[in-house]
């Protein structure tokens, strides 16, 4: 997918003015947030599980080379074909070749964020394959030619009336007078249409929530069962998974599974969690005849051992964006690439480079909710600050920003001037605000004052108040 991360300010402004989008986004903070809080309430060990989750991922990353080769050994022994892809285009070529050798025409897909990352659909479609997303949200955005706006709820930016219009447009062979006003009617129609695709698909592609070194298994988690129909009905099952998906054992996967759905949707566990090991066995009556696993790097290995290693713990639950006030305001598309929200603000610069994504680490108030809810305790605000520093150090900030910061730094290094300037500034602001005590407009801060007034200072600077307070403390201590 072509990133539009450079246009973040414009994207965000457009999102704020988009009434349809704002209507859809209003549901995010109430639904996901409350449900997660309830699930956490029901499980007293939840906070300790977050520590356990963090530790499992840290341990695995420290031994990543070994766990990947152990995974490969056991997967291969169970009949899997394992491939290693360094880049997005390597992964796309490998999967296209698998589809070709299978003589595939129709390819069904379970939801996979890294398939979005590598642009897999476009690559396969360019070779004439009919690629069908089967997760309902993904199916809807595929019909619209859009990308996901949320990593677990790809169509969260849409209202049901928009979905109805798309279904009427695309499912043109169905009765015109049919009712499609309720979500249940829309779901029933998608079920009917996609069932035919499942039954005719030659290759089924899924992602993986985990790869298990102990057993050579891949794991997917869904509520719809679409991933399972995808991987059980086609004659070939292809899994695409990034290197950070491997975990040591079934026990470790179990711990992370306890965290995943509770953090994501507030469910105790997702409806379907599927462990796949090898292809169908000789006397199995169903299941795929071949099972391929593509292990993708695409820049992740460079994060190992770097200041950003901790982002590789992510299990893609979406809790950080569900709890982010910036995400609530602008939705996922404004971020301009596959991963929105706080995790995107850290991951996107890590994978695309800070040059074209320098706005993203600033798309945060650093309120800290994302870190507080992260199931593997990724210090997202710290990592965003780190990217801000790197953007500055590497000259990837605007001239105005750099000038302002340099001017402030110069002033801050000259305490007398600083005190004088702030005394003057404060007095002036008080004067300008008059009797209201509020400023309706301020030079260089129009972005702030356009939407609200700025409370005016009362006449003394912070340093003056501080000094006065210290003197009072001193007086009190002297008296006692």
């Amino acid at each position: 997918m072509e990133p539009s991360t450079r246009n973040f300010p414009g994207n965000a402004a457009r999102a704020l003015a988009d009434h349809q989008l704002q209507r859809a986004l209003a549901k995010v903070p109430v639904g996901f947030v409350q449900k997660r809080a309830d699930a956490r309430e029901r499980l007293p060990e939840f906070e300790d599980l977050r520590n356990a989750g963090r530790d499992i991922k840290n341990h695995t990353l420290q031994h990543l080379d070994l766990y990947l080769t152990e995974y490969e050994k056991r997967a291969t022994a169970a009949g899997a074909h394992v491939y290693w892809a360094e880049t997005a285009s390597d992964a796309c070529s490998i999967i296209l070749e698998i589809c070709r050798q299978a003589g595939a025409r129709v390819v069904t897909k379970g939801k996979s964020m890294i398939s979005e990352e590598i642009g897999l659909n476009a690559h396969l479609a360019a070779s004439g394959l009919d690629v069908v997303e089967t997760d309902l949200g993904e199916y809807i955005i595929q019909l619209r030619g859009e990308t996901p706006s949320h990593i677990i709820a790809p169509a969260v930016h849409l209202n049901k009336e928009q979905v109805e219009a798309d279904f009427r447009r695309v499912h043109a062979d169905l009765a015109e007078g049919r009712s499609l006003t309720e979500p249940s009617e829309l779901v029933a129609e998608a079920r009917q249409v996609l069932r035919q695709k499942f039954l005719t698909a030659d290759v089924g592609i899924t992602g993986a929530n985990f790869l298990i070194a102990e057993t050579g298994s891949s794991v997917i988690v869904t509520n719809e069962g679409n991933g399972d129909l995808t991987q059980s009905l086609a004659k070939v099952h292809v899994v695409i998974a990034s290197i950070d998906k491997v975990v040591p054992t079934l026990e470790d996967a179990s711990t992370l599974i306890r965290l995943l759905a509770r953090s994501a949707t507030g469910q105790e566990i997702s409806t379907y969690t599927t462990f796949s090991t090898g292809a169908r066995r000789p006397d199995d009556p169903d299941g795929p005849e071949a099972y391929h696993v593509v292990i993708l790097d695409n820049g992740r290995s460079e994060l190992l051992g770097s200041a950003f290693q901790e982002v590789l713990r992510c299990i893609r639950c979406g809790a950080c964006m569900n709890h982010c006030p910036v995400y609530h305001a602008i939705g996922g598309h404004a971020y301009g690439w596959v991963y929105p929200g706080p995790i995107g603000s850290v991951l996107t610069p890590s994978l695309l480079g800070i040059r074209q994504s320098s706005h993203l680490p600033n798309a945060s108030t650093l309120c800290g909710r994302c870190e507080a809810v992260c199931p593997v305790k990724i210090p997202l605000p710290k990592l965003m600050r780190q990217w801000r520093e790197e953007a500055f150090e590497s000259g990837n900030t605007t001239a105005g920003f750099r000038f302002g910061l340099a001017a402030w730094a110069w002033l801050a290094r000259h305490p007398r001037l600083y005190r004088l300037a702030s005394r003057l500034g404060v007095a002036m602001l008080k004067l300008v605000s008059g009797s209201t005590g509020r400023l309706r407009w301020l030079p260089f801060a129009g972005g702030w004052t356009r939407h609200r007034d700025l409370p005016a200072p009362h006449g003394r600077t912070f340093q003056a108040l501080w000094a006065a307070g210290r003197n009072q403390d001193q007086d009190r201590q002297d008296k006692s």
Binding site: L64, E224, G225, L229, G287, S301
Partner: protein, 241 residues
């Protein structure tokens, strides 16, 4: 039936071991020049061999009846129907009754599972049994769970000729039979049993953890049942010890 339709595809071309080696080298370099030394290997081998449990929630350790009650309550809170019977002999009548109440045809598809096959479907009910993997248009599939974890009301189903995987997803209604003795507290306890049953061999092609009927909330976060998989899930617990 699917078996005959496909021939095994040729193994696709390898991208060569060069990509593999380069990727592993990058990882080792990034980890500070880590080598495959004995200490690191031993740590990994031990973890895989001993597979230590991490934190297991206390609710998984509830005693006897309370654990079954938790299992039941979890499944029901995830929109499954739970039916209890005393012995395997009682299952067909209970299934027939459920189908009647749900206005479903008295026809179920099942695999070769010995427990299911021994049940008196003809004598105790008028339920017709179809054989093998699920086909498009099947209304009801019935499976025998290999185990269950009460902590989240989760059934574990192993694929194979006994319980074909498509039965879990294609039919509109899925019925799963599980003996009370197979209901453990935690996922870890179930994995212990699974390991014991496969020995040194690989896991079955799929192990499906199922905790309710298929659902989606992709349209305006409204939960709708029957997204792609079964619209309803009924769990029959055989209470006989």
């Amino acid at each position: 039936m699917r078996k005959a339709r496909f021939k095994r595809p040729d193994p696709p071309p390898q991208t060569g071991s060069r990509a593999r080696e380069r990727l592993l080298d990058k990882i080792r370099t990034a980890l500070g020049g880590a080598t495959v030394d004995e200490l690191r290997s031993a740590v990994v081998k031990d973890r895989l061999r001993l597979h230590p449990a991490n934190l297991v929630p206390a609710r998984a350790n509830l005693p006897g009846e309370q654990l079954i009650a938790l299992f039941r309550q979890m499944l029901e809170s995830q929109a499954a129907t739970v039916i209890e019977v005393e012995t395997p002999r009682d299952v067909p009548a209970a299934v027939a009754d459920y189908l009647r109440r749900s206005n479903l045809p008295a026809r179920v598809r099942m695999g070769q599972d010995a427990l299911l096959r021994r049940m008196p479907w003809q004598q105790e009910s008028a339920v017709e049994c179809l054989d093998g993997a699920a086909e498009a248009g099947d209304a009801v599939g019935i499976s025998h769970a290999t185990a269950a974890a009460a902590e989240t009301g989760t059934l574990f189903l192993a694929s194979g000729k006994d319980n074909p995987v498509t039965l879990n997803f294609l039919p509109d209604t899925h019925i799963v039979v599980v003996e009370q003795s197979k209901i453990a507290g935690s996922y870890e306890a179930v994995w212990g049993r699974v390991r014991a049953s496969v020995g040194n061999g690989p896991l079955p092609r799929t192990i499906n953890l199922i905790s309710g009927p298929s659902r989606t909330a992709d349209i305006e976060q409204t939960i709708v049942m029957g997204a792609h998989g079964p619209r309803s899930l009924a769990v029959v617990i055989i209470r006989q010890k």
